[in-house]
Symmetry: C2
Subunit: 145 residues, 2 copies
């Protein structure tokens, strides 16, 4: 009986670890898709990576809820000349069908002379498992300076 309990507990640990691994792999891929869409100017493609009820919390602007509002926000950022976005995940913690990611970002914003200025900052994303994949549900960020 003791052996069985230990084997069962071990299999739970393995299952939890495999689940966390699969969340991380899926989130890494979704982040790569986000960056690819942004850097080719595809705001509709970005919006599809969010849940239908997702909310973004952009610095210097009100929160925007739902894919249409999220697409409009990123379309504005793309048309404003923001370029070369990059993301670096620092940590992912999974709780069932939810995961929270913390990370760092960089992007380039045109100044008054249209010269690109590099901005660095940090973000928190809450991901939700929707069907087989993971989608951004809450997305908030701010700059370091």
């Amino acid at each position: 009986m003791k052996k069985f309990v230990l084997a069962f507990a071990f299999s739970l640990v393995l299952a939890a670890s495999a689940q966390a691994q699969s969340a991380k792999t899926a989130i890494d891929q979704a982040n790569r898709n986000w960056i690819t869409a942004f850097n080719k100017g595809d705001a509709a493609g970005i919006a599809q990576l969010y849940t239908e009820q997702a909310t973004i919390f952009p610095p210097g602007a009100p929160m925007a809820k739902g894919r249409a509002a999220i697409q409009k926000f990123w379309q504005g950022a793309i048309e404003g000349g923001i370029k070369n976005a990059a993301l670096q995940t620092l940590n992912i913690e999974q709780h069932g069908r939810l995961a929270r990611e913390i990370g760092r970002f960089s992007l380039e914003v045109p100044d008054a002379d249209k010269k690109l200025v590099r901005i660095e900052g940090k973000y928190v994303v809450i991901w939700k498992k929707v069907g087989p994949g993971w989608m951004l549900d809450i997305d908030i960020w701010n700059a370091d300076k």
Copy 2:
């Protein structure tokens, strides 16, 4: 058997609802404690509301990890003359021992002439259940303008 399954399912729904209610009640109280501590200038009291490994993500500053760094950050905000902080929870979603809160904040910051200027913004907090209570584990915010 069918009746038993229904009764069991119903009791699970009740239990989940009671659990969510208790998280919300505890988080509301912790937010009131946060505001009380801030508005009396008690940075150590604020820090005690965070988990030991908590991280804050302040706009215009690097992230700060751990209670000592968090206390130092809020001490700086208090010494910088920030006053009259207020929080308004918009929504709490609980997943086991984790809950994510979204909300709005306001505070007053002195300008160059030491006149207080009201700033409004939004925040995301990830709370963790630690012992019987809930503590801030991730805290990120930014201004609307």
